[in-house]
Amino acid sequence: MSKLNARIPEGPLAQKWTNYKDHQKLVNPANKRKLDVIVVGTGLAGASAAASLGEMGFNVKNFTIQDSPRRAHSIAAQGGINAAKNYPNDGDSVFRLFYDTIKGGDYRAREANVYRLAEVSNSIIDQCVAQGVPFAREYGGLLDNRSFGGAQVSRTFYAKGQTGQQLLLGAYQALMRQVNAGTVKMYTRTELVDIVIVDGKARGIIARDLVTGELQRHFGHAVVLATGGYGNTFFLSTNAMGSNGSAAIKAYHKGAMFANPCFAQIHPTCIPVHGEFQSKLTLMSESLRNDGRIWVPKKKEDAEAIRAGKKKPTDLSEEERDYYLERRYPAFGNLVPRDVASRAAKERCDAGYGVGATGLAVYLDFKSAIDRLGEKVIEARYGNLFQMYEKIVDENPYKTPMMIYPAIHYTMGGLWVDYELQTTIPGLFAAGEANFSDHGANRLGASALMQGLADGYFVLPYTIQNYLADDIRTPRMTGNEPEFVEAEKAVKARFEKLMSIKGKRSVDSLHKELGLVMWDFVGMGRNKEGLQHAIQRIAEIKKEFWTNVRIPGDTKGMNIELEKANRLADFIEIGNLMARDALNREESCGGHFREEYQTEEGEALRQDDKFAYVSCWEYKGEDSDPELHKEELIYESVKMVQRNYK
């Protein structure tokens, strides 16, 4: 257990963060200038961390694989960001936001981290408004709120259906201000390809210039990974095409532990899959569940007729529709948490009530909201989402219900971090979706933006100082130290190996194969036999990849297939970790549903006596199985109960 010390501060839950800040070590302004911090990623967590650290006076080097920091996939978040402001006076508080998040995560998150998240949530809204984020407002000029799944209060701030975009632009602008001031140096179209460890501490990275193909050595007194999640292991997901888990895998290879890899979120409201050429799945914001009602036909004959194109959804009367979420969960209705809504959709479709050509879709219907509020109001709330749907599906959702189906959206698992967001490698920090810490086994809607910005604006700038305070006498390294040279050599060898395979199969064809195995066996419903099969299949795909992948071109200059191949090799490893972790976790909790462990009504059944822990996987080399470590989860302020949204 010595390797896993969460370093949670003393004191009652509500005092921990204050106590920490009161007693942590600081770095004086003259010394900050002498310290270099590498931040990898420019999404909400990365951009906000890089900007804040730059403002404080550290020398920051910030890396992104895209052509501009503004492209990071945080930009695609639609619905909103949670905070415990209680502006609507509906009974919200820091404790309630904390409690909802712990409960929503099915009691698999660390209490102290989640409380701190709820605590700083209000500062995030203040910060964003000061930056000029144009949140939606009431006619009186004050901020508007809406509700999201898993909560009975309205605590979600939003900017049309583009909240992620506006928050990211706020952070991006703060970041560009620091670029202009010279405190942050940006490296665009540059990818982390390894992490350099010197004397047991993270001291830099090897990066690859994606335009020239050249390898670069970068030193940092500390390294922050804000590189997002690994949902693209499934090939089809709501993630951007470039989103990848490679930085996390590099860290894992160097000794950082990978926590709860099997906790992946399946988002209930995505546009259904429609063909094998499909490259990604498009999310329809959860906010739509505020006004949309989810249903399938009550009778199988009607579902069959709709699938065959003989009936239209609008032909069915109210009595012929099964609003199954309202039926099963009267208290939360259409606003149950994501994992619950996703499984309920799968249950109906598996039972033969699904609609759409494939039968793998349910309806999200706005008719009653349009009747009640008028088309204008609905357009003001969701106009851009309706437009997006129509462009993709070629149907008008004002006239006919949307079709939706669950898809992989977010990964709660990630690099294990302690209270300071430090991994098991000293000096290596992980923030945002890249870490595991705040969402347990299921993330609530509008909490990803909250966590990314909490980590970047209000947590890391404190905790990283506590680490760097001991480093003020560490001189900058030149990049010529043997550790840097060795790391670069290993990276070079890997790329040469990839290029030398010269097989027959494209990277995408292998990635799709992996994705299907993941979706079928490590997706919404998992069981022992299926997971064992998946582990075997993933090993086969790994072998096929390393012997038969075809990458045109060479390592010099821009080579997109080589970039993709390098990331796929890591996705294969993540897929293996996910399946192993899912196999180990013999319980159902949040997004992890083991079919062997469910209640009579088909709800997730936790095994708190056996699995109230964070599973942390330690890399043991290419040919060995990873070793499992456990961080016990101790709840002092909440009582673990079976979630109930009825």
């Binding site: 900007a51 000029g132 560009m176 951007a240 209000f458 075809r550 045109p552």
Partner: protein, 251 residues
């Protein structure tokens, strides 16, 4: 039922910024009209890889019309024939069987080609760095509801802030002007009390940087507004001109 079409593609290929480019012609068959334009490009690339040729490099990421990465000039129009969409949201149902489609990168002096259809839009970041922000650091800011903002101002600001920085406006403009992009950012911030404080300084700094980076002048042709996937309004340019003039007059 699913409909498929066969197409001839004329694609711009260029190995690097200083290399000479050329059009290559490819045929793709049985393309589902339900697939997106970029999925059609994926199919082309899969075909090229199977023929042991180098796939076509093009920028793309979110594939849901918000990241601003995709940037194809299709049949003479940035983001192609559909209105109010980015290339990734353009679907093949907008094309007919037997069509020849010409695919080029953004053409602008300020956006040099990196490879094939990928251009360098770093100039946009530099313009933002010159002043496209509110100068507040993290922490020490007032409560979010301390300053009420009229709903209309917030909504207008949001409309201007919807810009995704794709550069279609520059590509569409015969002068290669970045005025729509710059004016959207200036408007977004100038419409809010938080951004009002530095409005004059911001307008001057961003315009100066835009001029320095080789973007052309605005002659009010309005092509940018027509091609903007986010329907950013020309009225933002009028607002920028007002902001800029009144700032200059005060100097």
């Amino acid at each position: 039922m699913e409909k498929t079409i066969n197409l001839t593609l004329k694609v711009w290929r260029q190995n690097g910024p200083r290399e000479k480019g050329r059009f290559e012609t490819y045929k793709v068959n049985n393309i589902s009209t339900d697939s997106s334009f970029l999925e059609m490009m994926d199919i082309l690339n899969e075909q090229l890889i199977n023929e042991n040729k180098e796939p076509v490099a093009f920028d793309h990421d979110c594939r849901e019309g918000i990241c601003g990465m995709c940037s194809l000039y299709i049949n003479g129009r940035p983001h192609g024939p559909d209105d109010d969409v980015t290339t990734c949201q353009l679907h093949m149902r907008k094309f007919n069987d037997g069509d020849t489609i010409t695919i080029e990168p953004w053409r602008s002096a300020a956006f040099p080609v990196i490879k094939d259809l990928i251009v360098n839009r770093h100039a946009f970041d530099q313009i933002i760095a010159a002043g496209g922000y509110v100068s507040v650091s993290t922490g020490g800011v007032p409560d979010a509801n301390a300053i009420p903002i009229p709903k209309k101002d917030a909504d207008d600001s949001m409309d201007a802030a919807s810009c995704i920085g794709c550069g279609a406006c520059v590509a569409a403009c015969k002068n290669g002007s970045a005025m729509l992009f710059v004016s959207a950012k200036v408007s977004h911030l100038a419409l809010l009390p938080q951004g009002r404080v530095e409005a004059a300084r911001r307008a001057k700094a961003m315009v100066a940087k835009m001029d320095e980076l080789g973007f052309g002048n605005c002659t009010n042709t309005g092509a940018c507004e027509v091609e903007c996937p986010k329907s950013i309004s020309l009225s933002n340019i009028a607002r920028l001109n007002r902001e800029f003039l009144s700032a200059k007059l005060k100097d």
